[in-house]
Amino acid sequence: MIPPPFDYHAPGSLEEALTLLGRLDDAKVMSGGQSLLPMLKLRLATPANIVDIGRVPGLDSISEEGGYLRIGALVTETALEENATVAARYPILLDTAKVIADPLVRNRATICGNVAHGDPANDHPATMIALRATMVATGPDGERSIGVDDFFHGLFMTALQPGEILTEIRIPSPGQHSGGAYLKLERKVGDYAVAGAAVHLTLDEEGTVTQAGIGLTNLGMAPIRASAAEEVLTGQHFGDHSGLRGAFRRVREAIARTPSDDELIAAASQAAADATDPVADRRGSVDYKRNMARVLTTRAIHKALERAAARTPAGG
């Protein structure tokens, strides 16, 4: 539990940080350090240099502007949890932050660090997939944007190049009729997920799903987008089986044998389970984890629909 020797650098600006990363051999960026420090203590990671960006100004803001929620590199899980905009408009992010580790870790751990670490067991990646977020990487040649689908390459592997820092995550602001939820099954509080499912649904005025985002946690070597499951949901109309519309729908279902809501959700959830490639470990068998992907996706879809229905047109 004692880390090997390393040199510690605490740059005071982004430029300085980037210069250090360009100059130093075998350097690792540290923000909150909540994944890196345990790996150092277990001597699983042995970088010669640590570049701590904790003192770089301007990276700790969280704001909604230009159609995006922008989360800076030093925004902690606790800051996210305490943010009023997030609570009101991005409950799926709050769901996610709340189930990460414990409050002591969340006081230091950052959202960007959680994503940049490239660990498929981390919780934010699935949510970022569901929300179709964009990662902003800053390197010696300036900024570049990376879509979430191009970001995760495998176990601890991402699109970030040596010398680059994940400086911001941009999440598209939700539409008027949208809702999302993140559900995590864990063996005890603070555990990595046995399975996790993030679902974000955008509906039109009529209540038809125009866009579905489904991400899965710790069910493969990288965070997973359940595309087939998204397709099952897209274009479907859920709920509101009362009145004239409901009557029409029931007739249509009866004639055309259109699947019911429950059947649609079950089909999407099964498609999500089919997209997984888990390994058996102390958290359960492959069969169990696949089934938990299915169960959690079902529950997350229901919760997302509920939240979408509860949202006022003003989006508040």
């Binding site: 004692i2 099954l185 005890k188 555990d191 068998s285 169990y288």
Partner: protein, 788 residues
């Protein structure tokens, strides 16, 4: 029972706030890692990555090049002093450091001594050890097969992997009952290997003074006196004799049985200090603690109950395989290799019983300690309480009712159990009645029936355990030959304040408070004025330490006896001060008064002052007494626990909705501390029931070697415990008290397991192995087509 003393005196029955808590709550405790010495060096340990293999070579050269690394000690170095091995408390042997073979993963292989903790860790990483791996024996059943390799080739005459066979009861008579019984039920069950996982890991600071030839060892031990004697016995030949060894056990952050054994790290630190003539500190990290220190449990039990058609239990038969790992390193009394497992007939009257245990060697860390358990009682109670439920389901009776119909009636005490115990006192029906009333048992059964109709899974689990605590009477109980008495030394100062020293050692139990209350009860001095000390072998009277809930039954009783001796002397002084005969005095706590003239009185403080200033002629000055208490019997606390669980049909998660614990530990010294003990014990019973398990793969790799995978429940997982008690005093303890620290650890797992099985009983489920993980439950639900 209303307290006999005033709130100012705060004797028995007062919920006095713990005297030790101000320092703990302010972070001012003195734990082992708080100790430091000028010139202190650090020990860190190289550990084996493999479970079984030959050591081909140990290359220390790179480690010795590191700045600050002073020495690397190997088994060969210790062999020169014959200190490379040590006896276990069960008279088995165990390596300190290996000379040629490693026997389990994480075994100590070499010790690096350095000037800082960091340099020591770098040194460990730089020691290069070449191994020739061998196929380990991990399955205890396979260990007994004819073609299994013999693991302990170092032991002369050891021709297989059987350590010992133990049995109790009349096999023939028991078999006969089974042959003729109406009903026989059988369950095979495993109480898995777990770990005490105390918040503080183990460690020591060994400080050898080469000029004086004196060794002081500050260490995390529950039994400092016994450890000093063991040190003197094994290291006498290198010049350490008992008067030159001082063992100090400071504040301890949880022991739970895991701090009874001597671990190799202590011995290496001591050897290093003696060799280098410098203080050497060794503090384990969490993973070392979990992976190498003594485990608990690991009993594979095959249990059967014979009954008549109505469910009246007639006999019990249990065959057990005990996996001890590389060595029998448990800390049970010498004559009890299987601990007090023969308590397995529990709270039920039956004609006969027979229990047997085979202990085997495997390539796992040695053990097993009595984790918050009076030596294998947890295993015995789990086995019985589970199979009694199987019987209830078999004969179609409510599990509470079946228990009631089989209880030993309260008129039958003292009760002689078929396996030889004399239960001191009990009223099992009273505890059951109270638990059922607190939880609303009949309503819950109605709710369960309704929920079953709707396909919801809810279960109610009952456990009515009998514990056996307070080892123990010297005719039966010893550790390495030392009888299991315990001791107290009480001295009252001239101003009427007192110091009381005991042979036990608190690890969080609150001795500084309860012992003070015991003295207050007997002497009428305010408990606030009684300073309690333990753990320093230079000052405390000799005792066997704290484990097996023995402190109150043994040292607590010694405290009573010492205080009563002082009170007898005080009475003589009071008679002298009041100028009356002793027989004319009346005692109420704190005051002697003259019969018929209550205004003519002296306080105990007056007597104390007079003991130093104004003595009756011929009386020895001072006010001091010592007692070594040899208990006439053990104490047998009991209780009924009822648990309600709901099961998520989608995920298999078990949620403990309610848990009522009714305990009877006889007369209560401090109700708040007892309740705290029950809360802690219940949580440590919840752990193994639903979360904790130390497992290994077939190559011998530990699969739960950190808190990432060894799942200790937190406050989030812990339900709101509901506690109650009944009071059935012990007839032989001087205060009528029994032990209580371990009842809840023993009683909780079967209550929870029974609740889960009860929720699934209508699906044909009769048993679930603990820990009852969600994936296990889901597997059962899925196999029966009820998973959602």
């Amino acid at each position: 029972m209303a307290p006999r003393t005033s709130a100012k005196i705060c004797g028995m029955g007062h919920s006095m706030k713990r005297k030790e808590d101000p320092r703990f709550l302010q972070g001012k405790g003195n734990y082992i890692d708080d100790f430091t010495r000028p010139g202190m060096l650090w020990l860190d340990i190289v550990r084996s990555p493999i479970a079984y293999g030959k050591i081909v070579n140990i290359d220390t050269s790179k480690a010795l090049e590191i700045d600050g690394v002073l020495a690397v000690l190997t088994g060969k170095d210790l062999e020169a002093y014959n200190l490379h091995w040590m006896p276990t408390l069960m008279s088995d042997t165990q390596m300190v450091l290996p000379t040629d073979t490693v026997m389990y993963q994480a075994q100590e292989v070499a010790g690096v001594i350095a000037t800082s903790r960091y340099a020591a860790a770098d040194g460990v990483a730089a020691v290069e050890v070449e191994y020739e791996a061998m196929t380990p024996v991990m399955d205890p059943f396979k260990a007994l097969e004819d073609d299994a390799p013999v693991l302990r080739t170092d032991k002369e005459g050891q021709e297989d992997n059987l350590i010992w066979h133990w049995e109790a009861g009349d096999k023939e008579a028991t078999d006969k009952i089974f042959d003729e019984a109406d009903v026989v039920v059988r369950e095979k069950m495993h109480v898995p290997r777990i770990h005490v996982a105390s918040i503080e890991t183990c460690g020591c600071l060994a400080d050898f003074n080469p000029v004086e030839g004196h060794l002081t060892v500050y260490m995390t031990t529950q039994a400092p006196h016994a450890i000093r004697t063991v040190l003197a016995l094994v290291a006498g030949h290198v010049g350490l004799s008992e008067e030159k060894i001082r063992v100090v056990s400071p504040d301890i952050g949880g022991g739970f049985g895991g701090k009874v054994p001597v671990y190799p790290g202590y011995v290496i630190a001591i050897a290093a200090s003696v060799v280098l003539g410098k203080p050497v500190k060794w503090i384990e990290d969490r993973m070392e603690n979990l992976q190498a220190d003594s485990f608990a449990r690991d009993y594979h039990m095959d249990a059967e109950v014979a009954a008549d058609a109505s469910g009246k239990i007639r006999a019990l038969r249990i065959k057990t395989l005990a996996d001890h790992g590389y060595a029998d390193a448990q800390a049970a009394p010498s004559k009890f290799p299987a601990g007090l497992f023969s308590i397995c007939t529990g709270s039920y009257d039956m004609e006969n019983a027979y229990a047997e245990v085979d202990a085997v060697y495997t390539n796992k860390p040695p053990g097993g300690v009595a984790y918050r358990c009076s030596f294998r009682v947890t295993e015995a109670v789990h086995c019985l309480e589970r199979i009694v439920d199987t019987l209830a389901h078999k004969v179609g009776k409510d599990p509470a009712q079946l228990r009631e119909e089989n209880f030993i009636p309260k008129e039958a005490f003292p009760y002689h159990s078929p396996l030889g115990w004399e239960y001191d006192s009990g009223d099992y029906q009273a505890a059951m009645d109270k638990a059922k009333e607190m939880i609303g048992y009949d309503d819950l059964r109605r709710e369960q029936a309704e929920k079953r109709e709707r396909g919801e899974l809810m279960g109610i689990g009952v456990c009515s355990f009998t514990e056996v605590l307070g080892a123990g009477p010297s005719k039966d109980f010893d550790i390495l030959g030392i009888k299991m008495f315990d001791s107290a030394e009480v001295r009252v100062h001239p101003t009427g304040k007192a110091i009381a020293r005991f042979g036990t050692k608190s690890q969080g139990q609150g001795h500084e408070t309860t012992y003070a209350q015991i003295i207050a009860e007997e002497l009428g001095l305010p408990a606030a004025h009684v300073q309690v000390e333990e753990g320093d072998t230079d000052t405390a009277p000799y005792g066997l330490g704290t484990y097996a809930s023995r402190s109150t039954p043994t040292a607590g009783a010694a405290g009573v006896m010492a205080a009563r001796q002082i009170r007898e002397k005080a009475a003589k002084i009071a008679a002298h001060l009041l100028e009356v005969g002793e027989e004319d005095l009346e005692w109420e706590p704190g005051t002697f008064s003259v019969k018929g003239a209550p205004d003519k009185s002296v306080s105990i403080q007056d007597c104390a002052f007079a003991a130093y200033t104004n003595l009756p002629e011929g009386m020895e000055p001072g006010m001091e007494a010592t007692n070594y208490y040899d208990p006439p019997n053990l104490t047998f606390p009991f209780g009924t626990y009822i648990c309600v669980v709901d099961i998520d049909r989608g995920t298999g998660e078990v949620s403990v909705r309610r848990f009522v614990a009714v305990d009877d530990c006889g007369n209560i010294i401090n109700p708040m501390i007892v309740q705290g003990q029950i809360h802690g014990g219940l949580t440590q019973g919840l752990g193994p029931a639903l979360y904790e398990e130390m497992t290994y793969d077939e190559d011998g790799n530990n699969l739960a070697g950190s808190f990432m995978d060894y799942l200790v429940p937190t406050a989030v997982e812990t339900p709101a415990w509901e506690t109650g008690h009944t009071v059935t005093p012990s007839p032989h303890h001087p205060l009528g008290a029994k032990g209580v620290g371990e009842s809840a650890t023993v009683g909780a797992p079967p209550a929870i397991a029974n609740a889960v099985v009860d929720a699934l009983a209508h699906l044909g489920v009769t048993h679930m192995e603990i820990p009852i993980r969600p994936d296990r439950v889901w597997g059962v639900l899925n196999a029966r087509g009820v998973a959602k």
